[in-house]
């Protein structure tokens, strides 16, 4: 099954083909379940003019936030970008564009992109700034807006375990946007905490079937905690 072995051994190979002005779909929620090494590689490569679709944009010195330092990001498509002073500054300066998208709509846009559904109706955002300029249609007497799907040139995904064929499982709430991101990239790259042999993952437990995945790399993760709150 040589043709299905998707493991690459360098970050350069993992992100080969990424060019300026491309669109990247990124998994993760806050700093949880983010492909730390792939983000670092994008910083190393210095690729610029990027459009990044991700629920958040990290913090100033960690996660996607590190791509702001050298102004690699042209546009973010996100639901919440409030954790990041540099972000706000670049936005106010007009150096960065942001398309604020409701979180559920964002998740569904990624899923739809991967699933060959170019657009769907949702009530979310109707009558708000999000709905402005969008097609409206009533179903059962309720108005809905038409939202178009999202795909990317690359998807970057963080898995807990991946096998050589690209089958992935996620750990706890580090799953979040990763499964949808994995489906929505022309090239999907998975950074995993552990790479196992095919057959080690139970077929019924696989969150992302390998068909969506092009490259797998073994990563090491800092897993920074954004808000460490303990039981009182």
């Amino acid at each position: 099954m040589a043709g299905f072995d998707k493991v690459v051994t360098s970050y350069a190979d993992a992100m080969a083909g990424l060019n300026d002005n491309m669109t990247i779909i990124a998994g993760g929620f806050g700093l949880c379940g983010i492909p730390e090494g792939l983000i670092a590689q994008i910083k190393t490569m210095g690729t610029s003019g990027l459009t990044i679709v991700s629920n958040n944009c990290g913090v100033d010195d960690f996660g996607l936030g590190i791509l702001l330092e050298d102004k690699q990001v042209k546009k973010m498509v996100s639901s919440y970008v409030g954790e990041n002073a540099l972000f706000e500054q670049q936005l106010l300066n007009g150096e960065l564009e942001v398309e604020l998208t409701p979180q559920g709509t964002l998740a569904e846009k990624m899923r739809a992109g991967g699933a060959g559904i170019p657009a769907f109706y949702t009530a979310t955002g109707y009558g708000t700034p999000v709905g402005e300029g969008k097609e409206v249609k009533e179903f059962n007497g309720r108005p809905y807006i038409l939202e178009e799907s999202i795909t990317g040139d690359f998807a970057i995904v963080k898995a807990w375990k991946a096998d050589r064929y690209g089958n992935c499982i996620y750990r706890h709430t580090a799953q979040n946007f990763n499964p949808m991101a994995a489906t929505a990239g022309k090239i999907t790259v998975v950074e995993a905490e552990e790479i196992v042999e095919p057959g080690e993952l139970d077929p019924a437990h696989i969150h992302t079937p390998g068909i969506y995945v092009d490259r797998v790399i073994l990563g090491t993760f800092e897993k920074r905690i954004e808000r460490r709150v303990l039981a009182k």
């Binding site: 009558g127 799953q175 808000r227």
Partner: protein, 218 residues
């Protein structure tokens, strides 16, 4: 006397029924989890992909892969399930969450809510709030009745960019419990010691006051 945050949260928790799936926003709504009445069980949904959210962890339990929608470390209760953001919002958008409680800057008599954006000031984003107000069966807004300058947050028409339209039915403030219907606020309960006069004064939209307005019971 205006209610404390804990008292508001206590009154919010009285809305829960046994077996409810509940999504709590950041702030006072989250506090409501601490005041669920005896004999009532609710299961908390966190929109980042957790049904059955438990309390914050002990030092030993802390796990970077286990957070809630507020990005705080949490635990899971027995019988929890964990899933993707798409599945999480399928639940929310599809109307499977029984009660959503969230804060707001403003509400109005049309059931509109503004809670996410103050132009030229706050541009962080709406997160999951727009999906929650569009999807939940029963939405409770909890906030102070007026801002710190005494301006009412219960308006005839919202002035800030909206989070959702025609979706709010119940409001629990530091002064009162109100229902939104027929383009007016119907006063259901008042905080202990708070007069109908004070509530009238701090409610900008039309207020309907019945002959008898009971005090909240704690």
């Amino acid at each position: 006397m205006a209610l404390t945050r804990d008292q508001i949260a206590t009154r919010v928790a009285q809305e829960f029924k046994d077996g409810d799936y509940v999504n709590l926003g950041i702030g006072i709504p989250t506090l409501a989890a601490n005041f669920v009445p005896d004999g009532i069980s609710v299961m908390l949904q966190s929109e980042n992909g957790l049904l059955g959210m438990g309390p914050n962890p002990t030092e030993e339990q802390v796990d970077a892969d286990m957070i809630n929608a507020g990005k705080e470390t949490v635990t899971a209760v027995t019988g929890a399930s964990i899933f993707s953001s798409a599945e999480s919002f399928a639940m929310i958008r599809g109307g499977h969450v029984d009660i959503t409680v969230l804060g707001a800057f403003e509400v109005d008599v049309n059931g509109n809510i503004a809670s996410w954006m103050i132009p030229n000031k706050l541009i962080k984003g709406m997160g999951g709030a727009m999906d929650l107000v569009a999807g939940a069966k029963n939405i409770i807004v909890t906030m102070t009745h007026a801002d710190k300058h005494g301006n009412s947050k219960l308006l005839a028409e919202c002035t800030l960019p909206l989070t959702g339209v025609n979706c709010i039915t119940k409001i629990i403030t530091d002064l009162a419990v109100l229902e939104v219907k027929n383009k007016a606020y119907y006063l259901l309960e008042r905080a202990p010691g708070v007069t109908v006069e004070e509530i009238k004064e701090k409610t900008a939209g039309e207020l309907v006051v019945p002959d008898n307005v009971p005090e909240m019971q704690f």
